[in-house]
Symmetry: C2
Subunit: 106 residues, 2 copies
């Protein structure tokens, strides 16, 4: 399901990636980072999907929370391993969510 | 591949959806809307991936461009059909991209 975020404004980190062929350790690390992110102060939610392109969007209550997560010691190691092993390329966008709305079948 | 967007700021429409079981007409409409979006003034790029959750992010140069696309006659029909047939639920977030950076293997 998609993330249950509060009323805007809040922040989104849009992480789009193309993987290498390397599988070893990836799923475990991705899972660990997901769990760790959820424990961080200011974390609001996460959404992820992958085909050829992978998209993971995490939501945060402030730019400070995003910066803290980027600099988290374990996350830093994961980022380095990601560049060395698992990702061919990726792009990260930091965005301020200004509005949202949703539809649900009755 | 991910979208080749210009230097920020620009805008993102984050569309997260959960589908119904209905397949009829969906792929054709999704493809037509993708092609039509790309022809709109102010369109900058799009990224999409789907597993249980579908994530499509389109990028635009202004809120006006986003509003114009939302109100586009053909797109309005597609939105109505989407609510009637193809989507169990979806959430749309409008966000202003403030920063981006990328990694690419040498």
């Amino acid at each position: 399901m998609y993330a249950q975020t509060p009323v805007p404004p809040y922040y989104a980190v849009i992480f789009c990636s193309v993987r290498t062929e390397a599988e070893e350790g990836y799923a475990l690390m991705a899972d660990k980072m997901m769990q760790l992110a959820k424990q961080q102060k200011g974390f609001l939610g996460v959404e992820t999907a992958r085909n050829e392109l992978g998209i993971t969007i995490s939501y945060w209550d402030s730019l400070t929370a995003i910066q803290n997560w980027k600099n988290h010691a374990y996350h830093s190691i994961a980022q380095q391993l990601g560049q060395n092993r698992w990702y061919r390329r990726y792009k990260i966008r930091i965005a301020k969510v200004e509005r949202d709305y949703e539809f649900e079948l009755p």
